[in-house]
Symmetry: C3
Subunit: 262 residues, 3 copies
């Protein structure tokens, strides 16, 4: 299953995701003349999805401090050196297309979803953090928070297939961990309670769904497949496959199985 | 009444709103030398309010993808071709000046309120959407979400006189409908519940007031003149002229009249 | 005590904060070649902390309307003419380093924290407002709201040592007053109830802590040392040294002493 997952979007040496993205870009360029030069320079003219993404992100996040040429180099290097980056990023990209009813083309996720952009920039910042390049990692986090309003500490650990919908106002703290195939809406906070140092942020397991404005504070665990309702404040653990709503959050669902499966 | 409404700000062929805006711009330029060249190039030197607004929005939203010259052309064309655009935009503009105690001059709403800017950019994106120019409409939505932190799907339908105060974090989904003279604060979400496809977003009737951080989810109807309190989570209909507060929202007011009038 | 406070970071004519910031900048430049030119032009090459900050903020907030050269001049002049600005700003800066567990170097607060940037830009806008330069003050507020997603009315009064963590979505109204050494997280609103004109925003006393997403509405007083929980909606006074949580907020703590000390 893991191997199949990793192969997602790839078959027989072909990169099906990239082929589809390029086709969509060519179709969109034919449809909309005003976007043609953008679509060619950002997508069609590139040799691989990673290269297109690095170029696009670098333009989105450029500043006098970090011009797009430097960002582009950093992104390309991080993408090359992060283990399995290509598979992880394709999972992230397909997660948007799969889970957002308003997203009908993969290229829309690639080009227009700031949740996806912030996540990929975080993966780069996380790689920089692991290389102990702290100032550059923090500079990138800061620029993403300013430009995309999504503030993820470079040290936070995030699995594959995270879907951040809309994204404005999301805050994810230094010691947070997010499993695979998690979905969250805008204004979600994975923060600290302010009373502890060290490991102080939530751990979110695989397949969790977190509604708009939900605020989860402290070193608590949101169990696999659980759901946190919109506007919920949660400062305690949430069992797998259960739901919590309210301020403060009350558990309204119970585990469907004793040993939850994915 | 409708005709009078449409004539608002216009009398005898004169455009009173535009006249006042130009006067205010000239006064501000005289007061503040550092803003004089901006005020002349953005307001005073233009022949009409639409032209000034298109120029200003194009500068606010410019990016390497969509430079200000192209945006300016798109905005001017959309403003010319959207039925009644001039009247609707003047209503939107006066709504800010009328309903915000901190707004004393119309020009402040025109130049400095990102809620107003995002709304006008949405009206352009909505026109593009209706022309089936989906990629350009989505590019514009995405740029507004990045630059102004207000994420309105181009397909959403919005009546005249919407006032979006502060605006940061507002999210309005694809199948939402908003009536006339609605007011909303920042962090308001008109979203889906995530369990449905198709028509899945709120319908907000005329004259509704939605407080800061209120989250309304699903294909529910917020009746005419109703009020949704700050930080309220609402997933059910709200009768006309009633109020809801809390997480989840409870109705605390009752209709004042059997058949509510505007 | 007050005098000692004012001297914070200064000893015997030396500016210890500035010395440390320059050292940290030099160390970071040695560590990270890609940031070296930025760190030299923004920090090391300056003669004083104020000059470095004005330069950095001007670059962060530049726009076609207000280019960085003009902003830099305005910031430098406001910093020179605001009584005690140097001390107040150093308190603000050290507040970030003191209270954020994720902030280990002062230079990170100076360069990368948009809450700190927005606060310093507000202090400039407030000075402009007091000089009755309303259009320029509003232009600056608007640009900060667009670029940093923190919307503080220029007339709002803010004491020293305010720490705004993350910052996205913070809104502070025209007649709000904030005492010294207050901490607030992102998405905090100090707003009006919409039913009053004039003095209509909260008064927050010294040492208050306001959690993420807390919304405080109306001319209410949050007493010294009080704590407002995350996601809380508060429309009533809160006694000193007590806590409130929930929607609507309930007081869960009681004053620890009859006459609260700092």
């Amino acid at each position: 299953e893991c191997r199949q997952d990793k192969q997602r979007g790839r078959r027989g040496g072909r990169d099906l995701v990239w082929e589809r993205v390029r086709q969509e870009a060519q179709m969109a360029a034919a449809e909309e003349q005003l976007l043609a030069s953008f679509l060619y320079s950002t997508v069609v003219n590139h040799a691989a999805l990673e290269s297109a993404l690095a170029f696009h992100l670098a333009n989105k996040l450029a500043s006098p401090t970090l011009p797009s040429t430097i960002l582009n180099e950093i992104f390309r290097k991080a993408m090359r050196e992060t283990p399995d980056y290509g598979h992880i990023m394709r999972f992230d990209l397909l997660a948007v297309a799969d889970r957002d009813p308003a997203c009908t083309r993969i290229i829309d996720a690639l080009l227009f979803f700031k949740g996806f952009h912030a996540l990929q920039a975080h993966r780069v910042a996380h790689w920089l953090w692991q290389q102990r390049r702290y100032p550059l990692a923090l500079a990138l986090q800061s620029q993403v928070s300013k430009e995309l309003q999504i503030d993820i500490h470079p040290a936070a650990w995030i699995g594959f297939g995270l879907f951040v919908d809309h994204g404005t106002g999301v805050v994810i703290g230094e010691t947070a961990r997010i499993g695979n195939n998690v979905s969250m809406l805008h204004h979600v906070t994975l923060g600290g309670t302010g009373t502890k140092l060290g490991d102080r942020h939530p751990k979110v397991e695989d397949g969790v769904l977190i509604g708009a404005g939900a605020t989860i504070l402290g070193n608590v665990t949101i169990g696999r497949g659980a759901m946190v309702g919109a506007c919920t404040l949660l400062t305690t653990d949430l069992p797998p496959h259960s739901s919590a709503v309210g301020v403060p959050g009350r558990v309204i669902g119970v585990p469907r199985v004793a040993t939850p499966a994915t």
